[in-house]
């Protein structure tokens, strides 16, 4: 599983990265987490508000930092 956290470096983006790490640990999943900060790459996903959460190439969330449990749910579904 490949998880990408999209964000240009605002505080919300850093929060999301941390929440995602916690969620992966909690769910006991084997996943690769990557932070994408390049604006051109971010724009390729077509989102307009950062941060964004991408799992295996699909945009799952934009513009908000959800709870650890919500991300665990998203990761289990993916």
């Amino acid at each position: 599983m490949k998880i990408e956290v999209l964000g240009t470096g605002c505080s919300k983006c850093k929060n999301l990265e941390k929440v995602v790490q916690d969620a992966v640990a909690k769910a006991g999943l084997f996943a690769q987490i990557e932070k994408v900060e390049d604006i051109a790459k971010i724009m390729e996903y077509g989102l307009m508000s950062t941060p964004g959460l991408v799992v295996d190439g699909d945009v799952k969330l934009t513009g908000r930092v959800p709870s650890v449990d919500e991300i665990v749910g998203i990761l289990r579904e993916a």
Partner: protein
């Protein structure tokens, strides 16, 4: 609405603290305590409501509506959506590029980008609590007008080549994320709490200085010494507003105190618009995707619009 608090705080200051009613110190302390608590209550309440409401208008939805509209309607809708959607200057770039990717014209994109920060939740909350709903509505209405007209002007100048990054067109269709009300309500609360933590000190300082002005500065101070209705009052207010983004929360209480001492309302509104719409940090962020020329034109056009609003106001009111 706050008559109960006016009474309670007066009792506190004049009876409990024993300060003399009508004295400079007494009036200043009363103003400070009354105003700080009143502003805090209104700030938290209004920011919370605005944030919760805006969570229902994600910007992707706005983009879908605006894309493909005819030009004038596009400008008007972009300006209105700027008020409705949540905005944070940290996502100004993805927002800007996202609009262009959906083949929304540059000028319409600017109408949005000018309108969005102007209707900042903190500013609206403070305007409502300090100046009342009439001034708040006027502020939002004139902000829309500036956004529409400045966007139209920028759009007519053929500046597409001033965008420094390649735009790959995408489909603007948008699938709504389903978020339960409980989560929205909680996230809006978290957002309000974090924002409040960031600005409360500015508010206290602003009200503190305002209280000093309220109690000690004579009634006709501004008219007498700072040229209240002189022609240069508005441009000075606009220029002073540019570097003051972070402390908007502290500056508004100050503006209230100054307008009570004779600063004209148009000058005050121009100043507030300049504080939020012409922010240096936002310009620095945009520099990564826009040429300096385009940023200059953007600031120039909006600044000019704000000036006009200030002069208009000073003449009417």
């Amino acid at each position: 609405m706050f008559a109960w608090w006016e009474k309670l705080s007066a009792g506190l200051v004049f009876d409990l603290f024993g300060l003399e009613k009508g004295s400079h110190l007494g009036e200043a302390v009363h103003f400070f305590i009354y105003d700080t608590i009143k502003i805090f209550i209104l700030l938290v309440g209004i920011i919370y409501l605005v944030t919760l409401l805006r969570s229902y208008f994600p910007v992707e939805k706005a983009r879908e509506y605006i894309a493909g509209k005819n030009k004038l309607l596009g400008h008007v809708m972009a300006a209105f959506f700027g008020v409705l959607t949540p905005f944070c200057s940290c996502s100004a770039i993805p927002l800007f590029l996202g609009f262009l990717q959906a083949r929304i014209p540059l000028g319409v994109t600017f109408s949005y980008l000018i309108s969005a920060p102007m209707s900042d939740a903190v500013v609206i909350a403070l305007l409502l609590s300090l100046f009342g709903w009439k001034i708040a509505v006027l502020y939002v209405g004139l902000g829309l007008l500036v956004a529409i007209i400045a966007g139209l002007i920028i759009g007519s100048m053929n500046l597409d080549k001033e965008v420094l990054i390649e735009i790959k067109p995408v489909d603007a269709s948008y699938e709504e994320q389903k978020i339960p009300f409980k989560i929205r309500a909680f996230e809006a609360w978290e957002f309000t709490r974090d924002l409040f933590k960031k600005i409360y000190l500015y508010v206290i300082i602003g009200v503190g200085i305002g209280a000093f002005i309220h109690g000690y500065v004579p009634q006709d101070f501004i008219t007498k010494y700072a040229g209240g209705d002189a022609w240069y009052a508005v441009p000075i207010a606009v220029i002073m507003g540019i570097p003051m983004y972070a402390s908007a929360a502290g500056i508004l209480p100050l503006v209230e105190a100054l307008s009570a001492k004779g600063m004209l309302m148009g000058t005050a509104i121009s100043f507030m618009m300049a504080v939020v719409a012409l922010s240096l940090p936002e310009a620095m962020i945009l520099k990564r995707v826009l040429s300096m020329k385009l940023i200059g034109i953007f600031f120039g056009t909006v600044g000019f619009g704000i000036l006009l609003v200030g002069y208009m106001f000073n003449i009417i009111l």
